[in-house]
């Protein structure tokens, strides 16, 4: 036994004599850490790194089978899902790993921001971190493209349309992005190169620098209210803290990182097992236009913002807002490199994180059910609710037919079914008079197209007759106040509503 041990030590010594890595590694692992920083709040950075490694490993494994070609990528994904043993599982881990990585990077960033860890001397660590966030989002977007399905194809179209709005150089930029005149083989190949070589290379380099700076500058100490960061005194204070009460990073702090990383990987595995891989959805064939493209989860908020912006603001917003946001994130540690670290003394910081989180959450939630999108098959798929037809006159029922056949339901819900682009029509007669309805239907306006060319006078009459019966739970019909006034002036005794709907 001791001979075996001696042999092992001998082999180790042979390598160590040549590599000389034990010293630097031990030093790095045992670097003194403030005891308060050995906290469960400080585990997100290492978890993001572990997820990154998981993505590299599963990505390489997928590349063993995946065919990086616009013509064959989709069928190779089907092959991975259905024909390769556990191919679906590897795809699922890579997909869920990506979602977890974006989420953990965002949480890590919020934690660092709230703990003031970006302040002196860790400004550059934060700045590189901003780039790491952008690279992570870049990986998420390009990864979505490599899942080359309908959403990926039209997502590229949305990307090209956004880029084309860039003043002056929009055209050349679109050509750069697409690698040719249309979204096709060359477009796919450059996104493959971005996802597999360029962005991962940048990520590796930036992660290495980021981690190096954490070792070099030390882990941020737990912030205390009133303990002010000053460039003049911070280094001495931090040195005193770590040399007096510091604990070695391994094992005192590292065990929490390790436990959290294991939990996160387990969570990824669980999601992969229970929810399976993402797609692919339909074939990336542009001639199949029966599709409603949608981005992946972490880009839904952008999709929502684009839908809600007024058209004339869209192009300026698309270019000015990201410049301001990224610029502000990069400049933050240079502008606010000193002062209070603790969140209780930085109300604006807490407010900002809360507002941004709520805004992203709301927009993402809206993005999951896209109330701005017409439901393209509602007119043929969602029948008129029976309650709306009971006891109606033939003309009114004819109007219900017009409502279906002219695709009104694509944008207007009735009985809870149909699009949400326009207002629901269940109680429309309680809000609009007959005249207002006719005008709105024929001339459109306020986000509604004019149907003057698509409706005959008879159809319009029937449609409006039907709409006049939609008064929700028997609400009072809308009344034109001026009409009553003019009538009451003519005949003061008659206070009747002029055109009462023919409903029961």
């Amino acid at each position: 036994m001791s001979r075996l041990k001696q042999n092992a030590i001998g082999i180790y010594a042979w390598f160590e004599r040549r590599l000389g890595l034990t010293g630097p590694i031990t030093e790095a692992a045992a670097h003194p850490t403030p005891p308060t920083s050995a906290s469960w709040w400080y585990v997100f950075g290492s978890a993001a790194t572990v997820l990154f490694i998981l993505q590299i490993v599963t990505g390489i494994l997928l590349a063993l089978v995946y065919t990086p070609s616009a013509g064959e990528a989709w069928s190779s994904l089907q092959f991975l899902n259905h024909d390769i043993t556990l191919g679906w599982f590897l795809r699922a881990i890579h997909g869920w790993g990506s979602d977890f990585m974006v989420a953990i990077v965002l949480i890590h960033m919020a934690q660092v921001f709230l703990f003031g860890a970006y302040k002196y001397p860790r400004e550059l660590t934060w700045i590189l971190g901003v780039f790491l966030l952008l690279f992570t989002l870049g990986m998420a977007f390009t990864g979505q493209v490599l899942r080359f399905d309908q959403d990926a194809y039209w997502g590229l179209g949305i990307g090209a349309s956004i880029v084309s709005r860039f003043p002056w150089i929009g055209g050349p930029l679109v050509h750069m992005m697409l690698g040719g005149p249309i979204i096709a083989g060359q477009t796919f190949s450059r996104f493959f190169a971005l996802h597999v070589f360029i962005i991962p290379g940048m990520l590796l380099a930036f992660v290495a620098l980021h981690v190096w700076m954490v070792l070099h500058l030390g882990v941020n100490e737990w912030p205390m209210p009133g303990r002010i960061v000053s460039k003049a005194t911070y280094d001495r204070e931090y040195h005193e803290l770590t040399s007096k009460v510091g604990v070695p990073f391994v094992p005192d702090a590292a065990w929490k990182d390790a436990v959290f990383a294991a939990a996160i990987i387990l969570a990824v595995i669980a999601c992969a097992l229970f929810f399976g891989p993402f797609g692919p959805s339909g074939q990336p064939d542009p001639t199949i236009i029966q599709t409603a493209p949608k981005p992946d989860f972490f880009f839904l908020w952008i999709y929502a913002v684009l839908a809600y912006l007024p058209p004339e603001l869209e192009t300026p917003f698309l270019f000015i807002a990201p410049t301001i946001v990224i610029g502000a994130m990069l400049l933050l540690p240079l502008v606010a490199g000193e002062g209070e670290k603790h969140w209780s003394r930085r109300p604006v910081a807490v407010l900002m994180v809360s507002v941004i989180a709520v805004a992203l959450g709301v927009f993402t939630h809206l993005g999951t059910f896209t109330p701005w999108s017409p439901i393209m098959d509602a007119w043929s798929g969602a029948p008129t609710p029976v309650a709306c037809l009971k006891g109606r006159s033939p003309l009114e029922r004819q109007g219900a037919l017009v409502l279906q056949n002219k695709q009104c339901r694509n944008c207007h819900a009735l009985g809870g079914a149909g699009g949400m682009r326009g207002p629901a029509l269940d109680s429309i007669a309680a809000r609009m008079t007959e005249d207002q309805m006719i005008r709105q239907v024929l001339q459109g306006g306020g986000n509604m197209p004019a149907y003057g060319n698509a409706l005959s006078p008879a159809e319009t009459r029937a449609l409006v007759a039907f709409l006049m019966t939609l008064r929700g739970n028997n609400l009072t019909p809308a009344v034109d106040g001026s009409h009553i006034l003019s009538q009451s002036e003519a005949a003061p005794s008659s206070g009747q509503i002029p055109s009462s709907p023919s409903t029961q």
Binding site: G71, P121, P181, A232, P293, P457
Partner: protein
């Protein structure tokens, strides 16, 4: 950095300035070494490598930015959409064509759909499938004479003009011609807002289209007596 002041590398005195821990020690004759023949040759080698780098960078940049400098017109060709008898007058139909510039690797992505509206005789309008907002595929609804976009709810009238929603303009149109009873369009590029060839198009077409439309109104919208 601290060498001239602190050549022995002693721990610095109490200093309000942040201090980078330095282990460097003064090398004797450093100043002389900086002016030696070797130093000169080293600088020369740097210069040489910079020159080689530039020589290498020019073709790499040319390769990388090649697509950006290619003119739109070089991508476009006349493509046949088939005999005009495939397009009944007064109707709008979906038709696919193979992009004129394509490779084997493109697969199905080089099959491009477009909407053909046959107004009357040799009067056509050929619309790109891409919504003028963000490029999603628009769908034609003959019942309501509207194009609708599934993404953000852009809506266009039968003649491609903007009806409602976020698009800033009408649908993109291809140039077309009718030769020997065949409908040809000048296509080959995904239309976007920066694609000037497409932006100019509607202005040229407005005159013949609107007159044809005026003639068309009685047959396409059979108004019954109210």
């Amino acid at each position: 950095m601290t060498d001239p002041i602190n050549p022995a590398g002693l721990p610095p005195p109490k200093n309000p300035e942040p201090q980078v821990p330095s282990t460097s020690t003064a090398i004797p004759g450093l100043k002389a070494a900086q002016h030696s023949r070797r130093a000169f040759l080293f600088k020369l080698s740097l210069l040489l490598n910079s020159a080689v780098g530039v020589v290498l960078a020019v073709p790499i940049l040319g390769y990388l930015f090649g697509p950006a400098f290619r003119r739109d017109a070089t991508y476009k060709h006349w493509v046949s959409l088939g005999p005009i008898s495939n397009f009944p007058e007064g109707q709008t139909r979906l038709v696919d064509f193979r992009n004129p510039v394509t490779t084997d690797a493109d697969g199905a992505t080089a099959n491009v759909p477009c909407w053909v509206r046959h107004i009357a005789g040799n009067q056509f309008q050929v619309f790109a499938i891409n919504c003028a907002h963000l490029g999603c595929p628009v769908r034609w609804f003959p019942q309501s004479n509207l194009f609708m976009c599934p993404c953000h709810g852009g809506v266009y009238y039968a003649d491609g003009s903007r009806a409602s929603g976020p698009p800033e303009r009408g649908l993109f149109e291809y140039r077309y011609t009718v030769t020997n009873g065949t409908l040809l369009i000048f296509a080959g590029q995904m239309p976007t807002l920066s694609n000037r060839a497409c932006l100019e198009k509607p202005l040229i077409q407005i005159a013949p289209d609107s007159s044809a439309q005026a003639q068309q109104i009685p047959p396409t919208s059979p108004r019954t007596v109210a």
